[in-house]
Each structure stands twice: as structure tokens, then as C-alpha cells.
Subunit: 494 residues, 2 copies
């Protein structure tokens, strides 16, 4: 027997008819109005009741089949698939164009190795990283008896490393006692843990537009509503921030106050003050992702520092500046929340990696890290100058040249579409980071983010220019409309 | 102005009046009937409307104050706390007695170091672990140029390690291609990732009763309903399993089919077959936690092996047998789900630790691991014999002596309460694992789990006997009733 059929189609903005039919069916499946095993309406019946053509329903059913949401039984019709279907992150939120889906690009980048050019990726080239010093530190750890290489770490994380981190944070104006620091296995996991600590499904989270794209992917996994605030060279648009806080009452505002990804902007002390005042007035927490802090040549103002870790939770790590293979994440938060957070950490991960913590502690403590940072800061400054000059030559503009860090946020000449350019470049072995990947509102179709450390090869720019000129494969759909781009990861670390 | 007051009290089974008042208020807060900042009813008003004494309301408000759910403003009354309150895992589910809360015990165990005796903990003593060999492997990794010590790992995890793991799994009858293997940062995180992959809030998950206590804590973090099936020496009670599957339609059944924690039981081939048939009949997935597999002297039957990874997701790791400091988790699953799972992994953790993967690969590949396993298996057999003999002497019974592994599940003489004994022992520096920590139904108040590898010190048994005799501090409440015990971690790894 046919199930109750969806209401007559009222296509939502931005959805094709096929997508709207799919969305209607999916909503009934996820809302359990259509149970696993239930028969779907016939193609003719659904077409009539929704006021669409039969071919539209056929294509919608085809795509639902392909994604495993429904099954077909020959001669009998279509049925809701067994419940045994796992989460498909890609099906939460806008539909993806897998070829410029940054998550797909991330896989390519991470798997392709040295052959591909990666000006769109979010890490330094291997030869910028302190491989030899790190290996030396590893051998040193390996020579120490009783270094606890087989033991679980302490619940909060290795005590001497937390002491050292507290010192480092205090140098940057963030007053964290070692007991206010909780270690995790990576910066991304730190943010994920904080999300699970603070969020209920259906809550709202505020992000910058643009922001690090993996924020979108991560927040999808938390099943929360994400709203954006326009973010420019001066930080978030304060009027929009106030309005958004009032209208949406987000649980927290997730941001980078220093060396913002992707824009490279850093907040002024006054902007930090105003953001905090607004957060206080609207009783919103702030999660400050500060993973790029160590690229700064001098410490800038931080939300966590001004606030004293009352309303701000601070997150950091070393994957960008030290090693993405021996990762740790660092959370600094108000003391009265530590015990609950550690409870949650124990429940979902039991412990964080003690070997990585021991290695990073050794590296930080012996002075190698400071020397390494000095070297990469100088090298980044030089690379930034070269990249900005070359981008300008290619016709892009860079309104904000960041003070530090690896990113520049460049605007394409009028009429060019970053997604189309990125697709063409990808086909020729160059991973770019098209602007809408970072933009919730999809308002950055004319921007690209460049990692200046990954721009040494002249082919980066020749391929960029070729792609800008329309070279390479045509758009798949033969159209130049800006394809929807998913907001997922090229492989940055939060 | 007073908010609408809760209905007249109808105490639910197992709740005291104070707890019932708290639950009523909490339900209104979580359901947003009482918003942050809203004024609570007066003590007198609430007492009258709920038909309880004023002192009951006073105590309920006191406890809500203590847990941060409400705030008091002197001279004005009680208000719902600001929304800025994070998840309190301890407040989901039964209320805790922090002194025998295993999570608290976990913190004590993990922090106390060598001074405490830990027959209740879930890991081998440090001198059983291959510290010297592991440090040697670490130095070898540290000598290799180009070992990728600064790079992110491949999205699925280090390819040569996955190849090696596929081989190991096939030796145990589990047909996993390297492409069906996904690495995580630990076994617990593997289970957590699978939970996020498969579960919606409000879903039901089936666990064994008793089972590894951290399953309860972890599933709380997923906000799912947990139901139990009685588990004995022959595995799960099949009639109860069938009934529970039919009645609750759980999303998955989480179990250990070999060397079950805490009972040490292993399923026979026939039991594996029957469990799979029932799962199929009720369209339930199975998540098989197999972290104790390497303790087996010969491979037993596994759900994942019989099933061929169709309906079963298999999880393993090396924290118990190799290192809890350099952890990895291993997921083997059906090929058509791998891409989605890796998407989720990228979103919530970006990458898993490449250094740990490289180190473990080296250790597994060069034969050290097999020798180490041979040694600890023999040592465990001896320790098990001694511990069972000594427990029997002390008056406990061990109906099932496991074939391998570190655990024995021992029954106390009639009338003794494991929680009270554990509390007394803890006060004298001995961490025991009381049975109800593992039991959803709280039906194991007369059991304790012992880790035979942690029972070498004769004081374990003298303190046990002393605590059984009622020595040490009295129960805090001066009563001998079985205190509710939370179902959270002493620090086992799943």
C-alpha cells in the first residue's frame, strides 16, 4: 500500500525540482513518517500529487537509490532502505559537487603526495617543518627509561606539558593555570570535544563568513544550526554581530581573533573588547581557535586574554607549526568546567596520546621550537611578499596583506568564478581553495585562499592563469553558473 | 513572577522524593519550559503544588544549585542558571556517588601512579609492557629520514599499517581488505566515531549486562537509550536477546564476542551463529569490540568473521597489549560505508596520529609483538591461576575461569556488597571494580572484576579480606544498602 504522499511541491530557493522531490522524501524518512521497509509512492502517483513530471520523480528516485536511502525491488516498486544506513555527512546541508567538494580535495591532497601542487592546502610544505629536530627529540624520548611510553596519560594530559603550555599562554596574555588546561589528540578534536560539551542538537552556532571550512563540516556532525556573521579586514561586522546574537541566540561564537582563516585578519584591541561586550550582553560563549598563534611575530590581543577565560574557551595546537603526525590539542577554559570536560573526555576517548605529549613537551622545552618559529616566520614573510606580487600580476587583488601566517585571501577579477577555476586547476594537478568553501552565505565565489608557503613553484601561477583564462576541461554542466560548493575540508587544522 | 509549577509529584520507580523534584525541574529546564533566567517557584509554593514537604524542595534546590542548574539571588529567590552551562555527563542517567564513581576512580588510578594497588583497573602493570622494545622502535623511527614525522596521515590511516592489519584480521578469520580498514586515534575513539556514524539522539543501543562500564558513559554522550541483555558464561541470553531486539529495535548491539569484559567469556561458534541470525531477523547492526583479541592463545570465533563484515563493524586496538601512550584504533567495516565514515573522521578529527601508526607498524612488522604476546599470555595464565586460587580462599567464587585475558569475574559470599567493599578498599589505597559499575540493571552488586595481572601484591587480598570483613571506614550514610553506582570508567580501553 502506498504511503501518505508528500504535499504539493513548493520548491525552496536554490533547489532544483529533482532536489526538492528528494528533500521531501528524505524529510519523511528522517522524520520517520516513512519507516524503513515502507513502500514509496508510485512514480506516476508522486508526480501527480507533487505537480511535477514523471521524469523528475524518476531522477529523484534514481539519486535516492544511488545514495542508498531507498531500494528498488524489481516488479514491485521502491522502498525505504533498511535502517542500516549510516550518517552521510554530505547529505546534511547543501548537496555537493564532489569534484570541488573540499573534503574530496582533502583526500586528494592528503593522498597525492608531492606530485600535486597545493596552494589551496592548509599546511606548510614538508621541507619547512623541523623534521630532523623532531626525529632527534624522538630518539631522545626513546632513550629515556621510565618515560611512560606504555602508560595511559593523566586524565587532563601530561602535567609537565600543561605547565609549559600555561607559561606560553601567559606570555600571550592568557591567564591559564595548568589545571585549566585539558589536552586532546588534536586541535580538531579539541573543538569537537568542546562542541559536544556545549551543544545540544538543534542549538545554533555562530561562525565567521568566511571561516575555516571544516568548522562547517564539524558543526554538521553536531547537528546544529549554523549562522554566519560577515567577517572582513577589521574582524566581524559588529552591527551584524549584534543583530545575529539577538536574533539567533547562538550557544557560542566560533572564531579566530588572530590570523583569521582564510582572511589573515587580526582583531584590534578595541574590536576584541567590543566582541566581548556583545557576547556578554547576549549571554553567548566564545570558542577561540588560536592554532595559528605561533606564526605571529608579536602576540596580538586575544579574546581569551581580555576575557580571562570567563566566557571564552581557548583552543590551540601545534599541527601547523611543529608536526601534523604527532598532534595534540590544547583547551584552556574556566576552572569550574574542567572536571566536567574531563569526564566527557574520558567517556569518549579515555585518554589523549602520551607519546605525542611527551615528544612535544621535549621539543618545546629545549628551545628548538623557538628557533624553528623564528625561521618560518621570516620565510613566510618573504613568501608572502612574493605571492602577493605574483597574484597581483595575475590580476587578482589582495586588499588585506596579513601581518603573519600562511594565508592570503585574494579576489579574482570581475566575472571570474573561483569554483570553475578550481575545478579546471584540479584537473591539471593543482589544488586551489575556492572562496565559497569558506562561506556559509556562498558570497565568496570571487575569492581564493592561497597558502603562500605552497606557492614557490612557478607552475602554481601559470596554472592559475591558465584556469582563469578558461583553459583546462570545461565545466561539467557546460554552464558557468557558480556550482554550490560544500563547506568541507581541504585538510586544514582548526 | 512564578513560572508555571510542575504537576503534582508522581515519584517514579527508584527515585527519592528529592530526586523526583529535581527531575521535574530539570525536565522543564531541558524542555525549555523554564528558560535561562526564569524565576523558579517559591519553596512553599512548589512544596504545596507537588505535595511534598518544604524540606524536600529545599534539598532539591540545594542540589540543583550545587550542580549549577539554578542560581540563587539573595532576597529574591531561585532562578534557572544562564544557558552557559555545559554538559554534565554525571547528570545524565542515575545520580552518582562520586566516591565509588568509577570515573573518579579512573582519575585516581591514572593519577596515583605506582603507590596504589589497582586490581580493579583495566590495564597491565608497566613492567608487563614492552617498554624497552618500544623505545628501540621509537629510536628506529627517529632515524628514518622521510618517515613523514611532520605530515598529516592519509585520510584512512597509514597504508602499510592497514595492509598489515588486514593480514592479521584474516588470520583470525575476518576478511577485511586494507581499504575496509579505517584508523582512529584510539579504540575508544573508534567506537565513538562509529556511534556518531550510526546513531541519532534518541536511538536505542543494546549492550551486555554486565559490560565494559565505559560503554555506558560513552553512550550517554551520544544521548541514546541503552538497553541490556543478560550476559553469562555462554554469551548473551538468546531468548532475552530476541525479545529485546523485537521490543526495542536497537540500532546496534555492542558486544565483545571474545574475552568479554568483565566476564572473560567467549562465544562458541554456535552462539556466534545464533546472535547473527537474530541480528539479521531484526535488522540490527552489531559493533564488535575486539580489543582483547591478542590475549587469546588461539583465535576464537568472531561475529565479524562469520558475518564477513556485512552487518558487523569490528573494532580493535593495541592499548592493552602494546602501549596506552601510542594508541591507535582500528575499524573494519563494509566497503560501501568506508567513504562516509572517512568523511566523518575528517570532519571531527581531520587525521589520525601518523607517528603512533608508524611506530605500531614497525613494532608489529618486525616480530617483536609476537614474542611479547607469547610472553604475556603465559604470564597471564600463571597469574590467573594464582588469583583464582587466592580469591577462592578469600571466600569468593569464580564460576567461569576464562581461557585467556586479564579479567576474572568473581562473586562475593552471600550478603556482601561490592560497592561498600570497594569504598572501604579505596580508602586504604586499593582500587577495586565493583560489579554494578558494569551492570545496567544494577544486578551485579555481589560481583567484583579482578585484573589478575594487578594481583601480584599480597596486600590486594589482605585488603580485600579486610574490606569484606567490614574493616576500614564505615559507609558514608551509615547504611549497608547498595549505593547506586555509576556506569563509568575505571580506565579500561574498549
Amino acid at each position: 500500500m502506498d504511503q501518505p504522499i508528500p504535499e504539493r511541491l513548493r520548491p525552496e530557493e536554490g533547489l532544483t525540482r529533482v532536489e526538492a522531490v528528494m528533500a521531501a522524501i528524505e524529510a519523511r524518512i528522517s522524520g520517520r513518517a516513512l519507516s524503513p521497509g515502507a513502500k514509496l509512492p508510485s512514480i506516476r502517483g508522486l508526480a501527480e500529487s507533487m505537480g511535477v513530471s514523471k521524469s523528475t520523480v524518476v531522477e529523484a528516485y534514481d539519486r535516492l537509490l544511488a545514495q542508498g536511502s531507498i531500494v528498488s525491488r524489481p516488479g514491485s516498486g521502491f522502498y525505504v532502505a533498511s535502517r542500516a544506513q549510516p550518517l552521510c555527512l554530505a547529505s546534511i546541508g547543501p548537496r555537493l559537487d564532489r569534484e570541488v567538494d573540499p573534503l574530496w580535495i582533502a583526500r586528494q591532497s592528503l593522498e597525492a603526495g608531492a606530485a600535486m601542487l597545493k596552494p589551496g592546502c592548509g599546511w606548510l610544505p614538508p621541507d619547512w617543518m623541523p623534521d630532523a629536530d623532531l626525529r632527534r627529540a624522538l630518539r631522545q624520548v626513546g632513550r629515556e627509561r621510565g618515560s611512560g611510553l606504555t602508560d595511559y596519560d593523566a586524565p587532563q594530559g601530561l602535567p609537565p606539558l600543561r605547565q609549559h603550555l600555561a607559561l606560553r599562554l601567559s606570555e600571550r596574555g592568557i591567564p591559564a593555570h595548568p589545571d585549566q588546561i585539558v589536552l586532546t589528540d588534536s586541535t580538531t578534536q579539541a573543538l569537537d570535544l568542546i562542541g559536544r560539551f556545549l551543544l545540544d542538537p538543534g542549538d545554533t552556532v555562530l561562525v565567521d563568513d568566511p571561516c575555516y571550512f571544516n568548522f562547517h563540516a564539524l558543526l554538521r556532525a553536531h547537528r546544529v544550526k549554523v549562522v554566519g556573521v560577515p567577517f572582513g579586514a577589521g574582524g566581524p561586522d559588529l552591527a551584524a554581530l549584534e543583530q545575529t546574537l539577538a536574533a539567533h541566540r547562538p550557544r557560542f561564537y566560533l572564531t579566530n581573533s588572530g590570523l583569521h582563516n582564510p582572511t589573515g585578519a587580526s582583531l584590534t584591541p578595541a574590536a576584541v573588547h567590543r566582541v566581548l561586550k556583545l557576547a556578554e550582553a547576549h549571554d553567548t560563549l566564545i570558542v577561540e581557535d588560536d592554532v595559528y598563534a605561533d606564526f605571529e611575530t608579536e602576540p596580538g590581543p586575544r579574546l581569551a586574554g581580555f576575557d580571562g577565560l570567563e566566557r571564552v574557551i581557548h583552543i590551540g595546537g601545534f599541527s601547523k607549526t611543529l608536526s601534523a603526525a604527532a598532534r595534540i590539542g590544547v583547551i584552556a577554559l574556566r576552572p569550574d568546567w574542567v572536571e566536567r570536560l574531563v569526564d566527557l573526555k574520558l567517556a569518549v576517548s579515555l585518554s589523549s596520546g602520551r607519546l605525542n605529549a611527551a615528544l612535544i613537551h621535549r621539543f618545546l622545552a629545549d628551545g628548538h621550537y623557538r628557533h624553528h618559529l623564528d625561521a618560518i616566520r621570516a620565510r613566510l614573510a618573504e613568501a608572502r611578499g612574493r605571492a602577493v606580487a605574483r597574484l597581483t600580476e595575475a590580476g587578482l587583488s589582495v586588499p588585506l596583506v596579513p601581518k603573519a601566517g600562511m594565508f592570503v585571501w585574494a579576489k579574482l577579477p570581475e566575472g571570474l568564478d573561483a569554483a570553475a577555476i578550481s575545478r579546471r586547476a584540479l584537473a591539471r594537478g593543482v589544488v586551489l581553495a575556492p572562496g565559497n568553501v569558506f562561506s556559509l552565505s556562498q558570497g565568496a565565489a570571487d575569492h581564493l585562499r592561497f597558502n603562500v608557503a605552497q606557492c614557490a613553484d612557478p607552475r602554481v601561477f601559470s596554472e592559475l592563469e591558465r584556469a582563469m583564462a578558461g583553459g583546462g576541461p570545461a565545466d561539467r554542466n557546460g554552464s558557468s553558473r557558480s556550482a554550490p560548493i560544500s563547506t568541507r575540508g581541504i585538510g586544514d587544522e582548526v
